[in-house]
């Protein structure tokens, strides 16, 4: 590197650039946090939905599934499972979901197995509420199609 470009200049770019972009990031974060309630329909975030998220976490669902594309890639995406398996009908989805949760594991030899989590009826309902709420978040039109 040319001698004209000194260590002091490099240091200033580091401190100046790092600080500037971090502050910009904080400012954008403030804006994002302000508009998120609208994009995720926070008024629909009921106690049941919040409880559903706790059940999702407590059973490490994200260890196999992805949710809005994040998580593990061993089992289907669940951000749009309400559309895929419930045809956007809450009654249909809840009936499907409850039956499905109780039927696990399938025990089909050689196939991927989902553990039996022994959830109570209320817990299954709340987990379904959480997935329904999640499916309505404005995700900039992701996923590209119903298969997730």
């Amino acid at each position: 590197m040319s001698e004209r470009f000194t260590k002091g200049m490099a240091r200033n770019i580091y401190y100046g650039g790092g600080a500037f972009f971090f502050l910009l990031f904080v400012a954008l974060t403030v804006d994002t946090v302000t508009v998120l309630p609208k994009r995720e329909n926070r008024e629909l975030l009921t106690a049941e939905v919040a409880h559903g998220k706790e059940i999702w976490e407590k059973n490490n669902c994200v260890g196999c599934h992805s949710l809005l594309g994040e998580g593990a890639y061993f089992a289907p995406e669940l951000g749009n499972v309400f559309q895929r398996r419930g045809m956007e009908n809450e009654q249909v989805f809840k009936a499907y979901f409850s039956a499905r949760m109780k039927a696990m594991p399938t025990g089909v030899e050689g196939r991927r197995q989902m553990p039996q989590f022994h959830l109570k009826e209320q817990e299954i309902n709340d987990l379904a509420e959480f997935l329904i709420w999640t499916s309505r978040i404005d995700t900039n039109d992701w996923p590209p199609n119903i298969e997730g």
Binding site: M1, W56, P105, P144
Partner: protein, 467 residues
């Protein structure tokens, strides 16, 4: 080694390598479960094996960072560590907490683990990579505080070089951003948004500071190039890392509910993220070319140089491949992400930790380097690990392309379902498992180099008496 207290790095390095082996074992289990779905079910379900695989990685890399710090800070500050005793106490606290956590994952269902560790008081569990019980997270914070205190006091007493200042800034950032793991709001989008403040601001932010300073240290020691030159490079590299990486976080905000402007910000800034990795590569190779001494530890130089190439490929090239929003729209959450994750973590962080271990371990044993025979085995192991990790990456990329083409791009009704697509990919998963076993072979070869090193101690160059 020049300072007695550097010896506390030893248990950290040894424990890191032990956990590395464990991580690979669980990686092979996961690779098998992708093919034989019910392999080890219900004893070790996929989610448990994955949690063990990724958490062991994080725990052993942090362990390696701490060992590296304890090794290089006394040399940089030119004084003994503030408290070697504290470093030993923290080692045992960290090792015991880490081991108990992994044992917990493997011995009881996750929901039970959440209950017996009182997760309900402050729920933080069940989020990717942050699966540790809250009590373990608190333990990590305590260890980090003790560690930063110990290192900070040492630096305050001694010489303040750019390397140790950048290193401590990186470590401080690591500790500060980890605090966001305690924030778990009911809103999924808020949760995800700040979850990335831990995950992204770690690996594409402050960890790059740690990586840069360890790399700079190894290069100064092995090439004898003037410190001024190295420090200028280091500042420039980490400047670019932060300038691109901070707003680059936006590439995770495309499809999780955050506003549309992140599509642009995330795409533009993360497109620049390969630059610091490219600079690291140019830096390493130009320092090696300008070297003023021939250090006998060729293996350490090979790790360091290899690290910059593999990090550029994994973090830079494979990151760029899917970081632009229109591309990521189809690849988000596919095996492309897994391909990038594997090569980036291996290239950038696994290799830098193994590089510093390779440089430091012989010196901690009183040798300037290992014997030529031992280095030959070690360098062979670098090649085996790098080539097989590249194979894993290429195969996972192929798997991801199939997912995109079969499951993501076709319209509703024509697109294949998730499991139908997985069935199509099985032959690729088999080949990936073979590459994974080859990687495991590379790890065994690496460990064998330690056996050769201890058998051929007599042939190894001794440390200069003045040291």
């Amino acid at each position: 080694m020049k300072y007695q207290s550097q010896a506390v790095a030893k248990p950290y390095f040894a424990f890191a390598m032990l956990l590395f082996v464990g991580q690979i074992v669980f990686g092979l289990i996961l690779g098998t479960q992708y093919i034989i779905g019910d392999f080890l079910f219900p004893e070790i379900p996929f989610n448990v094996a994955r949690m063990v695989h990724t958490n062991l990685l994080i725990v052993w890399l942090l362990c390696g960072f701490m060992g590296a710090t304890y090794y290089l800070v006394p040399e940089e500050t030119q004084c003994e560590l503030y408290s070697p005793k504290l470093a030993w106490i923290l080692f045992w606290a960290y090792a015991i907490a880490g081991t108990l956590t992994i044992v917990g994952y493997l011995s009881v269902p996750y929901a039970t683990l959440a209950e017996i560790t009182y997760n309900n008081i402050l729920p933080t569990m069940g989020r990717e990579f942050l699966e540790q019980p809250t009590i373990t997270k608190i333990g990590i914070v305590i260890v980090a505080l003790g560690f930063l205190f110990n290192v900070g006091m040492t630096i305050l007493r001694g010489r303040k070089t750019v390397i140790n200042m950048v290193l401590i800034t990186g470590l401080l950032g690591l500790a500060v951003f980890f605090l966001f793991s305690f924030y778990n709001p009911a809103s999924l989008t808020l949760d995800k948004y700040f979850w990335w403040w831990v995950v992204h601001l770690w690996v594409e932010g402050v960890w790059e500071l740690i990586l840069g300073s360890i790399l700079a240290f190894i290069l100064i020691k092995t090439t004898g190039v003037d410190r001024e030159v190295v420090e200028k490079w280091l500042y420039l590299i980490i400047a670019m890392a932060l300038i691109s990486g901070i707003l680059g976080t936006g590439h995770h905000y495309f499809f999780i509910g955050a506003p549309e402007y992140w599509l642009w910000i995330g795409s533009v800034f993360s497109a620049v993220e390969p630059l610091p990795f490219f600079m690291m590569m140019v830096f390493a190779f130009s320092m090696i070319k300008q070297r003023r001494r021939e250090h006998p530890n060729k293996a350490a130089v090979a790790w360091a140089a290899g690290c910059t190439i593999m990090a550029f490929l994994g973090a830079g090239v494979w990151g760029f491949l899917h970081t632009l929003a229109p591309v990521n729209y189809y690849t988000h959450g596919s095996q492309i992400t897994a391909a990038h994750g594997h090569l980036a973590f291996f290239g950038a962080y696994v290799m830098i930790v193994l590089a510093i271990i390779s440089y430091a371990w012989p010196q901690l044993q009183g040798r300037l380097s290992n014997s030529l025979q031992a280095q030959k085995v070690e360098i062979a192991s670098i090649w085996v690990m790098c080539v097989s990790m590249l194979m894993i990456t290429l195969l996972l990329t192929a798997a991801g392309i199939i997912q995109v083409m079969q499951q993501r791009m076709p319209a509703d009704g024509i697109a294949l379902g998730y499991m139908a697509t997985q069935d199509l990919i099985v032959p690729i998963y088999w080949t990936r498992l073979v590459a994974g076993i080859a990687f495991g072979g590379g790890v065994m070869l690496y460990l064998y180099s330690f056996v050769v090193a201890s058998r051929t101690q007599a042939d190894a160059p001794a440390l200069p008496v003045s040291a």
